[in-house]
């Protein structure tokens, strides 16, 4: 199963991001990594968390607009040119990356990159047989979910 990203709409004003984080903290949701895409008026907070479904429910209950999206989590070697090589695979297949960001911690001694594609399955197929390890949801949220 693909890794699930939790996204939230946040006004670009003091205190608003904090309100989202407070809701997640109160629900005991741990954020593994996050990134914010910002405009002058608002931002989209994108997060990989330990329980995205619970996080999504909690945000909605607190009148915060949020959604869940499948993203591709890919282990990349920690060597020069590795990210270049991975992107080459996508470029060759004409797969546009909507956005990407990195895990704050290494897994299995390797950095993890999160990619958002319009069609995640096409991206996964493009990587097949090229020796890449795609991180699964279970690797992040654990066995019980």
């Amino acid at each position: 199963m693909n890794v699930t990203q939790l996204s939230a709409f946040v006004s670009n004003k003091p205190g608003h991001l904090q309100k989202v984080l407070k809701v997640l903290a109160d629900e005991n949701i741990n954020i593994i990594t996050l990134t914010i895409a910002e405009t002058s008026d608002f931002g989209i907070l994108r997060m990989i968390v330990n329980d995205p479904e619970k996080g999504n429910r909690a945000l909605k209950e607190n009148n915060i607009t949020s959604s869940l999206t499948d993203v591709l989590a890919l282990e990349i070697n920690d060597t020069p040119g590795s990210l270049f090589a991975a992107l080459e695979v996508f470029a060759t297949m004409e797969l546009n990356i909507e956005y990407m960001y990195a895990f704050t911690q290494k897994r299995n001694d390797k950095p993890v990159m999160i990619f958002r594609f319009q069609d995640i399955e096409k991206a996964k197929n493009a990587l097949k047989g090229k020796g890449y390890n795609i991180v699964k949801k279970i690797d992040i949220v654990g066995e019980n979910r």
Binding site: V10, A37, T39, D41, F42, T65
Partner: protein, 437 residues
């Protein structure tokens, strides 16, 4: 029909009844309210000169400003010992205004609301959940007493607390919901987000009575689709009585005015001239039976049209078009006239957008600047910036092409637009903060 004799009276008989009642009402105001006496004396008008409906044009208008000047009880025509209730406007366009009711006025108020409910097909078998705010606002108590007058089981839940509203709909078997149209959409939003497995059609809810703010045909369709009910308009204004001045019938086209209690005219808002039946203009009200707070030729600022159309429901009462704009609310932006309802219609057209919006007009230098804040709901939201920017752009383009205005669209968080008494505050005009009409 709740009152078949009145509601299907011939036009000729109705005119005769109105003339007789007008004579009483004009004299009652002149004899008992100093404001009317002074104003009429100054204008050279005396109630004795009032002989036919044609003489209406000789009577000066009564305005919101006159009401503000009379704050709080200056325009009452009976001693306070005869007044049993007061209501007060929320004062969204300026100072607060107060209206009073005698026991008989409350009777009339209850009857016109009962007639309204009956005209939608509500009966004493119904369970009416009244989600209008109870208090100084006429909506809550107005609907309440009308519902009791009809003999329906009345649930006085008042506004807000959406989870409880839904619980009562389920547990009590509510068949009729009364609220502002924007609150009805709030309930629909709540159900979609928090109770996606709940099927509203599994409840007994069948009908909605909505008013207290202008709403469009598109909004009716959306409420009907999402709450699986028939949605009807109830119209009124506290200055005249409260909700129930006019009401839709089974035909959902136009609202019948309860003409035995309110005499209506359409005037040109600029010249004050009375316009012939069928013309669009500002509707002006004269109370025919009110004791505590007579209102003679009250300028409502509501823009509509009056007509008779042999309505299939059998009522002969004059009809008014659904009010979608108040001339007070009309914005003139860089010389273009815009009603908030037009902005709402554009937002409704764009996929997934619901009308939780606020228009902010300001002046930057010599130019008017318009900003429309739109609350981002689940359906509009995306994790991709370009999708949200695309949404803003399509709204901007649509405003330009259909309204001729260029507006800045700001997407904001849910619940960030202030609401008062369940009414969304649609327009904030910062250009001249102390503007009074």
């Amino acid at each position: 029909m709740f009152n078949g004799k009145i509601e299907s009276m011939s036009e000729r008989e109705m005119k005769a009844l109105q003339l007789e009642r007008l004579k009483w009402s004009i004299r009652h105001a002149y004899d008992n309210v100093l404001f009317y006496k002074n104003k009429y004396d100054e204008a050279g008008f005396h109630p004795d000169q009032f002989k036919s409906l044609d003489d209406m044009r000789r009577i000066p208008f009564f305005t919101k400003q006159d009401m503000r000047d009379g704050y709080p009880f200056g325009l009452f025509a009976v001693p306070l010992s005869k007044v049993v209730r007061v209501h007060s406007s929320s004062g969204t366009t300026g100072n607060v205004t107060v209206v009073g009711y005698t026991k008989n006025d409350i009777e009339v108020f209850s009857e016109i609301v009962a007639r309204s409910l009956a005209s939608y097909g509500v009966t004493n078998e119904d369970i009416i959940q009244n989600a209008y705010g109870y208090g100084l606002f006429t909506g809550g108590l107005g609907l309440h007493y009308g519902s009791e007058k009809l003999g329906a089981l009345t649930v006085p839940v008042s506004g807000g607390n959406t989870p409880r509203q839904i619980m009562l709909i389920k547990d009590f078997g509510t068949t009729v919901l009364c609220s502002t149209p924007s609150y009805a959409l709030n309930i629909a939003d709540f159900l979609e987000v928090n109770m996606p497995d709940f099927d509203i059609s599994s409840t007994r809810l069948r009908l909605g009575v909505f008013g207290a703010e202008p709403w469009t045909e598109a909004m009716r369709k959306e409420i009907e689709k999402r709450l699986k009910i028939d949605a009807y308009d109830i119209y009124g204004l506290s200055e005249v009585m409260g909700p129930g001045v006019s009401a839709e019938c089974s035909e959902k086209s136009g609202l019948h005015v309860f003409e035995d209690h309110f005499y209506v005219e359409i005037i040109d808002p600029d010249t004050g001239e009375i316009l012939p039946e069928g013309s669009r203009g500002e509707i002006v009200y004269t109370s025919l039976t009110k004791e505590a707070f007579p209102g003679i030729r009250y300028r409502s600022r509501d823009i509509t049209r009056l007509y008779h159309d042999n309505c299939k429901c059998g009522r002969t009462l004059v009809k008014m078009e659904k009010v979608t704009g108040r001339s007070d609310d009309m914005l003139i932006i860089r010389g273009v006239n815009v009603f908030p309802s037009q902005i709402e219609a554009v937002l409704m057209e764009i996929e997934g957008t619901e009308p939780h919006y606020q228009i902010i007009v300001d002046r930057k230098g010599s130019m008017d600047d318009i900003e429309v804040m739109v609350e981002v709901n689940e359906k509009m939201f995306s994790d991709e910036i370009r999708v949200l920017n695309g949404l803003s752009k399509s709204i901007t383009d649509k405003f330009r092409s259909s309204l001729g205005i260029s507006a800045k669209i700001t997407l904001v968080e849910p619940q960030s637009i202030p609401r008062s008494e369940g009414k969304a505050i649609r327009v904030v005009d910062k250009r001249n903060k102390n503007r009074e009409d």
